[in-house]
């Protein structure tokens, strides 16, 4: 029974991850891409906690690791938003297709 539950959780995390990848590949808005990346980070968090709960209950690393991931994702987003804001002032857009100064 708990085995079935475990697989459900892992599949949820896999689906989240794939949604994230799909979002990164199809979005043209830089903020949208950033949000998709956040979803991917959360997929990893769910994975870690689920594995810890169902397979290695005695280990604490699966609980500690997500805390670091959440913190780092926040830091990364802060820097990312600053960079996106900086380019918005230049080209008045956050569409990645408009960023075409650098090519090949």
């Amino acid at each position: 029974m708990s085995n079935l539950y475990f697989y459900t959780v892992i599949i949820v995390s896999l689906v989240l991850f794939l949604i994230g990848v799909y979002g990164v590949l199809t979005r043209r808005n830089a903020i949208g891409i950033l949000m998709a990346i956040e979803i991917m980070f959360n997929a990893a968090n769910i994975n870690l906690v689920a594995f810890n709960k169902f397979m290695h209950l005695e280990a604490s690393i699966g609980i500690i690791f997500p805390i670091f991931i959440i913190t780092l994702a926040a830091a990364e987003t802060a820097v990312g938003l600053a960079l996106i804001l900086a380019i918005y002032r230049n080209i008045k857009s956050v569409n990645v297709e408009k960023m075409e100064l650098l090519k090949w």
Partner: protein
Amino acid sequence: MTKGFIPEAIMQGLLALTPEVFVLCLAFFIIIADLILPVKSKRNILDIAAVGLTGALLLTIGALFQQGMYIFNNALVVDSFARFFKIIILVSAVFMLLMSRDYKALENNKIGEYTALVVLVTLGMMLMAGASDLLMLFLSIEFVSIVFFVLVGFVKKDSKSREAAVKYFLIGAFSSAVFVYGASFLVGVTGASSFPSIQQYLIAHGISNLFIVGLLLMLVGFGFKIALVPFHMWAPDAYEGAPAPVTAFLSVASKSAGVAVLIRTFLAILPDNSNVNLILALLAAITMTVGNLVALTQNNAKRLLAYSGIAHVGFIMMGFVAYGLFGVQSVLIYTLAYLFTNMGAFAFVIAIYNKTGSDDIRDYGGLSLVSPALAFVFFVFLISLAGVPPTAGFLGKLLVLGAAIDSGYTWLAVIGVLNSVVSLYFYARIAYFMYFAKEKKITEAIKPSLSLNIIIYSSLFMVLYICLLPEQFLNLAKKTVQLLTGSFHGY
């Protein structure tokens, strides 16, 4: 157990990390100095940082062959292998600070921030070289990436710089998300995050498919860091847009740190390497070929060096695919050669940029007439990049190819040799513009500043020295690999 205020284990760890602690203190010192110094004398902060990092470099060199050990609950390992890469990182950081001294695009009032970031990112890369725990690995890689996002976009007036930073950021964040998803499988399967514990688990339970999947996803993160081909898209853009000293730093230090973690991770937690190795070999072949072929049509010097850097990563991976004592040894020599060659070449790009304000290689015409000695030195760096004797690049390529053939990857070595021939063309193209171009764009003699001269001539010395008297470098690399701690294979 605990004597005094600080527990013994932590004290021991801090002692082993003396250079890192030193660099951290230096970073805080620079932030304070930035607040105190008047705007006019802010350029001196670069000198302070360069001197400080040289001190850390000497500390690291002094301890090079000390016995390796794990510290902080196996989070970090301090051994000769890590120290070797720390030396490469510190040398390139010092060179980079010297290059920044008279790089025109940097404004005086931003120098303090800039230097502090450079020193901090050096610390991050030093930690990366010694990481032996998935958590530590993730944290240090992110540390380095996030600071580099800022450094790449540092010149606010330049819209190319901003665009490069955004592109670098989006691809970097994506690949680190994939990396951490892969790491979550590794942690999940083994219930541990430090390499020694993962090793123990694998010895007891064997390797599972989920583990391999996790490792391959992690390869995306590593591949991004060292610009391996399917994940290299950021490199040319970031290199072209970033301020040239940052580009040089990014191409040498960040790449070597990436190579260091990649090698350590795969040696430490992959017992049977045959299948994964084939994937790495294919990636190496594709990386070399794509890097060299796209470089053929480039006209921007920084962009050309970016693609050439991608091709060089292919060669480094070829040495790594060979595994074993000889393989890793060849990687070390190749990285050392790449450090001095690339730094020398970038110093030239900056010297010419400072004079003419252009990075286009078609604007290099006439260089050989107005300053023939400099043109010749540049030529030496170019043939070292291409791997022609008597330069360090040649020795590196020779060893890497030898290692590949030695371990049965003859097809890979053949691709490597063919790529070398291709690469000769676009390096020679720069030399062609320097020597034979009809349009003489450069009409006055180029006089690099003292700091650029130091970089150029010390790099030239090392490039020739490594090739002509290779014995001690080979011994050094061999001893370094033998003292590598925590490998599955044990040399």
